[in-house]
Symmetry: C2
Subunit: 213 residues, 2 copies
């Protein structure tokens, strides 16, 4: 059974043959911050259905976007991670996010909210022109989920897990972070007061926030 294709001799159509189906690019999004297990992917893709996720992962593997790897003992479970080609595609997915974040539809949208998505949206909100200011490394804690953001030579990098030698560590809930980004200027600092500073100064955190629109 041949997979459905546009049947066009065109690089764009060919790319969409590989990754243009429903859910596929969201699977890539889920892997942007590092490898995940099947069940973690399910959590990050509410409503997908295990059969569809299974199909998509096989397709992505066939397209050399994702690879399946066994975790070293004692974990001994399987994880999916982006290949080099997958990370290239990931850049495009992030650009799509940058496009989406400035859309009226996004501002008015609501739905399931997850800390990881909002943290990922830092890539979309990051303002190159504002760089240089602010601390280089921030750790964000949402309950038991921890993320780190680092700015190095104007380049933003986000990861899962604790930061190494962070300038600021904050603890917050994801609703607060969302409200921070929906506000701006002085109002934003007011909302940001709901954030607990675990380590470092509040000023440092606020100047970090100024890097994002």
């Amino acid at each position: 059974m041949p997979r459905r294709s546009y049947g066009q001799l065109c690089p764009i159509a060919s790319a969409l043959d590989l990754v243009g189906e429903r859910w596929t690019l969201l699977v890539v999004r889920e892997l942007l911050l590092g490898p995940k297990r099947f069940s973690d992917l399910q959590v990050g893709l509410p409503g997908i259905g295990s059969n569809i996720l299974s199909d998509r992962l096989k397709e992505l593997e066939a397209a050399s976007v994702v690879s399946r790897r066994r975790l070293p003992p004692p974990a001994a479970s399987w994880v999916y991670e982006l290949t080099d080609r997958g990370r290239e595609l990931g850049d495009i997915v992030l650009r799509l996010g940058r496009w989406g974040v400035s859309s009226p539809a996004f501002r008015q949208s609501d739905g399931t909210a997850r800390p990881e998505w909002t943290v990922l949206s830092l890539y979309a909100r990051y303002d190159l022109s504002a760089a240089m200011a602010g601390p280089a490394s921030v750790e964000l804690r949402f309950g038991d989920e921890t993320y780190s953001a680092r700015i190095d030579e104007g380049q933003l990098t986000i990861g899962r897990g604790a930061a190494t030698s962070p300038d600021v560590i904050v603890s917050l809930d994801h609703d607060t972070l969302n409200r921070i980004f929906r506000s701006k200027g002085r109002e934003r600092n007011r909302v940001a007061n709901g954030v607990t500073i675990v380590e470092g100064s509040r000023d440092a955190f606020e100047s970090f926030l100024r890097l994002f629109t």
Copy 2:
């Protein structure tokens, strides 16, 4: 009737809600080189079905990606064209093409071939590092279809229609252009001998080709 949505508070998911459905990004591709009428879009999207195209155009209009405009008399028909937001999305579509052109699946693919797609693939094949060399302006004629490619300060721009003060004008069929890109080095020049030089020198055309991988 609410359109189908991922229901996630995430810029990437939100973008895919707007333009992630089947055919949508290919409609954007079709408009990358300028406005088109409904029937021209149908020609460029073999197999789409007029109802689907109609739906997609309405959705793209609602998302402010495409605008519908009446042509001045005596033409008096409607055309669809990209808005500013649509061109931003167009950049992403071109990046997807750049990703797709380097995929094994594309190299092995066949299917419907159209001159416009292959001309568009110049964006994907353009090698920044090779710039500076070659003529700045080339006109490509395929039967009654004419395209122009211009390089200005290392920036490639492609359009429909005749070039202004071209360095080279060539006449070819789209199969020849495809074979040119499937070959490389000395072999490529051999294939390129099948191209008719209408104006300018064959050397200039060959150095133009060296800008593309």
